[in-house]
């Protein structure tokens, strides 16, 4: 069973002794915050779903987006390009509270590395951010719309039945953008 782990960036900032400000700016701050997040993650064993909460973050610059988000995803093998080999111990990441200005910093950083992530809005709606092709995006949207499950159940939501949905879902699972279990494919959800 996947263990959800909420990670409030504000707490990581405080532990990194950068809590005087609520802005995630500079590489040094990013490295310190990532160090704290990695420490928190290391305390959990097995498969995990880390939920990084940006709700209380003011400014996010490119350097911090790269140091925190991109390097965490790269290190834990989540959101990697489809051709990259993911580590066997699955770590999933989900991002909450990302505003438009956060995304302006994040998107080019993710694209630079060929990474993608799942972002959850305050109303619970989800979106894929970063490098995803049209096929991956449509397959991911089917998983979210269907709520996940067996391949046939997800496929029943597709307008075009001729697509190789299984291959696309396997690619998304390899990228840790959906969860694959014996019961099928599931969206990242933590509640």
């Amino acid at each position: 069973m996947l263990t959800p782990m909420p990670l409030d960036l504000r707490i990581a900032l405080a532990r990194a002794e950068c809590d005087l400000y609520s802005n995630l700016v500079t590489r040094a701050t990013g490295r310190a915050v990532r160090g704290q997040l990695e420490h928190m993650l290391s305390e959990m064993e097995g498969h995990r779903l880390a939920v990084l909460d940006f709700t209380h973050v003011g400014v996010l610059d490119f350097s911090c987006a790269d140091e925190i988000v991109a390097k965490l995803l790269l290190r834990f093998g989540a959101g990697l390009p489809a051709h990259a080999e993911a580590p066997s111990a699955a770590s999933y990441f989900m991002f909450r509270g990302l505003g438009e200005s956060h995304l302006e910093a994040l998107e080019p950083v993710l694209e630079r590395h060929g990474l993608a992530l799942v972002a959850e809005a305050a109303d619970g709606s989800m979106q894929l951010v970063g490098t995803v092709d049209a096929g991956e995006l449509s397959a991911w949207q089917l998983v979210v719309a269907s709520g996940g499950g067996e391949l046939s159940a997800i496929a029943s939501y597709a307008d075009d039945q001729s697509i190789d949905l299984h291959a696309r879902l396997m690619a998304l699972a390899r990228r840790r953008l959906v969860i694959q279990t014996t019961a099928g494919f599931h969206p990242l959800r933590h509640h």
Binding site: V25, R27, V59, E100, S101, V109, R112
Partner: protein, 294 residues
């Protein structure tokens, strides 16, 4: 022997070059007297340029402050004099700032030497930039991007310059010149400059082709960084995107060259200028004009 460097009556990024020309052939330990007595106005680029010039000298220069009381008061309120006193010998007593008077300053002249300085700058300017950007017709969320531009340009001092630097942000009414108001961000350091920072990455291209202009083109146009980490080099690319989105102008001077990302309103300014008088480090100027109604 002391060489007198006259500060132009109006000191900006263009007229600052005359000061650099005057020191270009002098040895680093030559004694300078920076004579600002007849200066009446200085842009943020000019103010922090003078501090950078003083910082780049091994011999502490002498400084003659402006005689005009309004000018000296403004330079004091912009934070210039307090820092200048630490870097230069004042000829006579440094004048105290008057408490009254309008200021265009969004961010006084601020030293950048540590990560905490960048944190301070971003935090300090956030509320003020929101207000000023809205009065210039920009959507509220654009002020976040403004803070990112400021953060990334200041960080380049810490990450790449190998020495301390300065930042200042002011708003101006450019009604006569451009028909619009503008926000001006100036960042400067007296560090190693772009060429030295990048030269280890560029040698395969041929050292003879790799001059200050080539280094600026590499960093600004191709997001090259001295680090092999592919995540590096995104700051300047982001600054370019933001300024491009809001019709802003970016110029970066380093060593003997200056590169510009020039919008239509500044048509005629060169994209790349070489063979300028050598000056250490890097100097950024970013100008964001008021948004025109569509």
């Amino acid at each position: 022997m002391t060489t007198v460097i006259t500060v132009p009556a109006s000191l900006d990024d263009v007229s600052f070059e005359t000061m650099l020309q005057a020191v270009a052939d002098l040895p680093g330990d030559a004694k300078l007297m920076i004579d600002a007595r007849h200066s009446r106005w200085a842009s943020p680029y000019g103010l922090i340029g003078m501090l950078t010039l003083a910082q780049s000298r091994s011999e502490r220069p002498t400084f003659m402050p402006p005689e005009d009381p309004n000018t000296i008061s403004y330079w004091a309120r912009a934070g210039f004099l307090a820092h200048a006193e630490k870097l230069m010998e004042f000829h006579g007593t440094a004048p105290k700032p008057r408490k009254s008077g309008e200021s265009n300053s969004l961010l006084d002249v601020t030293p950048i030497a540590r990560t905490e300085d960048v944190q301070y700058v971003v935090s300090h300017i956030q509320e003020r930039s929101k207000v000023i950007m809205e009065t210039l017709g920009f959507p509220a969320q654009s002020s976040m991007g403004f803070s990112v531009v400021l953060s990334e340009s200041c960080q380049n001092i810490i990450e790449h310059a190998g020495g301390p630097g300065w930042v200042s942000v002011q708003a101006y009414d450019w009604t006569k010149r451009l028909g619009r108001r503008v926000v001006m961000i100036a960042v400067s350091d007296s560090g190693i400059g772009f060429r030295k920072s990048l030269e280890n990455r560029q040698l395969p291209l041929g050292a003879d082709r790799f001059d200050d202009g080539g280094a600026l083109e590499s960093a600004v146009l191709r997001a090259t960084s001295r680090f092999t980490d592919p995540g590096r080099g995104q700051g300047l690319a982001g600054i370019r995107r933001y300024l491009g989105k809001w019709d802003g102008k970016l110029t970066i001077r380093s060593g003997t060259a200056r590169i510009g990302i020039i919008p239509k309103w500044a048509d005629g300014e060169p994209a790349l200028t070489k063979n300028l008088p050598h000056f250490p480090g890097a100097q950024y100027l970013m100008v964001i004009p008021e948004l025109l109604p569509t």
